[in-house]
Amino acid sequence: MTGTARRRRRRAATARAGAPILLVVPAVLAVVFLAIPLLGLLGQTPWRNLAAELAAPKVQTALRLSLVCSLGAVAISILVGVPLAFLLARVEFPGRNLVRALTTLPMVLPPVVGGVALLLAFGRRGLAGQWLDRAFGITLPFTTAGAILAEAFVAMPFLVITTEAGLRAMDRRFEDAATTLGAGRWTTFRRVTLPLIAPSLGAGVALCWARALGEFGATITFAGNLPGTTQTMPLAVYLALENDLQAAIALSLVLLVVSLAVLIGLRDRWFPTA
């Protein structure tokens, strides 16, 4: 039976069963609840002077900084997160499950707690901060580097988890086939492993970036809220709500569009049609 036929049959079965009112009412409520805020945002958007709002220096600064910070966080995540995903997927080592749990922790940890923890570790008097300050004269809190670090802390797990899942799902015998064709480790990785896990890697990067872009709690706690230095879009939105609603809405719209773009980009992964 083809996928389409199976789907059609399933749909027919649902239609036959009908839709019990007991399910429909709360379900519709849920959809309305999820949709109304978005409609509110779209309804309040100053479409006429949206361009002008987005071009305002304050908004531009936040946009640029957000781009720098989120891309920086993604770069760090790729640099250390992908190797970590490989180790977790491919190498048996004692405490592997512990490492995996630790890696996933930031996904469930309240971001503000992450910020506090970062401050205690990398603050001037923190465990690692003290040493960084003394050895290299580097201070992280309340700097752009600190904002990048805070975003990477919260966003990296998304890349690690997705990449690890991709590596686990991959048939490793393709790598065996490559070695029988004379490919060494690096060639095999570059020409076989990487292309085969590319969809997972891409999804991981997209998720990681979206999470970094929207990061609020850890950033404001660890890096503060300094315009041009650590005031990223979500922080700017929060601040603008007090005195410049139009700017807040314009920035929110940008974040919403980015989220939708990521969602659409990953739809085949999350909502497979076949």
Partner: protein
């Protein structure tokens, strides 16, 4: 110039312990039931499974010698491997799949593509060069896999059940092509299968592997004439007995005796073809030297004949015409007598 291998390894339930020699230009088929260790042996020869104890020498080059601590990594072994499900890289075109081995071995891009293209033409897939593997039929994918394994001129070609992934309809045609392409290869060839037909039609020599050990080697004719295990006997459809011979009688290990024409002594195998077994409803008189009473069970059609198992002191499979089966009312059960002439028993040392 040849392959000489001694491989010992343990993998889960499997204890592989094999001595194998294949001459250059020879096509050896490894035949055995599922789980016998055939694929594992190929993987070990390719360096993809860890050999615990052993030595593998190909054309005088030591690929593996556990005693001397030598282990040439897979990518530096001059081998070609055709996997059971081909494992064509799904993200590369047919041409790029074939060119992969050349590129990995440092052949410049343009030359690699040219040589890969020539191979695709050789296997009749020139117009599918830019197709992705998922767009190819099973038979086409198999030929791409073959071209990919052979393009870099390996000295040892390993094929793991190259026809198993194909449907029955396309199998005979692909088998014919495979035989032709294998014939054009002048290195050492080792093919694994559990399909006796494939084994008999392709092999210069058969090596039967059961539970990690070689139980028999020889040409298809030799192996089918003198099976040395129940597995092979069932494959070629003969009754196989084992026993202790003393002159013209064999004391069977499972009970009963067998009278044979040849004079022999010691541990022997005795093979009786089912069509040489005559069935009677009453004790027969006259020439047959071997007569056993039993009950007919397990009637099944085999071509235009009926195979019947007669269970008794000596259990034996007979093959009779449907008319005879009806006349003897075999389907009703009850006692029957199976008779075999001494001259119909092939006896050979165990």
């Amino acid at each position: 110039m040849s392959l000489e291998a001694r491989v010992e390894l343990t993998l889960g339930q499997l204890h592989l312990h094999v001595d194998l020699a294949v001459a250059t230009g020879e096509l050896v088929v490894l035949l055995g039931p599922n789980g016998a260790g055939k694929t594992t042996l190929l993987l070990a020869l390719a360096g993809l499974a860890t050999v615990e104890d052993g030595r593998v020498v190909l054309d005088g080059d030591v690929l593996e010698d556990t005693g001397a601590g030598v282990r040439v990594p897979t990518e530096r072994r001059p081998i070609g491997f055709v996997f059971q499900d081909y494992l064509l890289f799904p993200h590369l075109s047919a041409l790029e799949n074939v060119a992969f081995g050349l590129r990995a071995r440092g052949v410049p891009r343009a030359e690699a593509r040219r040589r890969a293209g020539a191979w695709l033409e050789r296997v009749g897939l020139a117009e599918h060069a830019s197709s992705r593997p998922r767009a190819l039929s099973g038979g086409q994918a198999q030929r791409v896999a073959l071209a990919r394994a052979m393009v870099a001129d390996p000295r040892l070609l390993l094929l793991d059940e190259p026809l198993a992934a194909l449907d029955v309809a396309s199998r005979s045609e692909v088998r014919r092509d495979l035989r032709r392409h294998l014939a054009s290869f002048d290195g050492t060839r080792l093919l694994v299968t559990h399909d006796p037909l494939e084994a008999m039609t392709l092999a210069d020599r058969l090596v039967v592997l059961e539970r990690g050990r070689v139980t028999q080697t020889g040409t298809a004719v030799e192996v089918s004439a003198r099976p040395r295990s129940r597995y092979v006997a069932e494959l070629v459809g003969v009754n196989l007995f084992r026993g202790l011979a003393d002159g013209h009688t064999v004391q069977l290990a499972a009970g009963g005796t067998l009278v044979v024409a040849d004079d022999c002594h010691g541990e022997v195998f005795a093979a009786v073809h089912p069509h040489a077994v005559a069935l009677h409803r009453h004790p027969p008189e006259g020439t047959p030297r071997n007569v056993w009473a039993g009950t007919a069970e397990n009637l099944e059609a085999a071509g235009d004949r009926v195979r019947v198992r007669v269970a008794g002191t000596v259990t034996i499979v007979a093959e009779v015409t449907p008319a005879a089966a009806a006349e003897l009312r075999l389907a009703d059960g009850g006692p029957v007598w199976a008779a075999v002439k001494a001259t119909e028993v092939t006896v050979y040392p165990a």
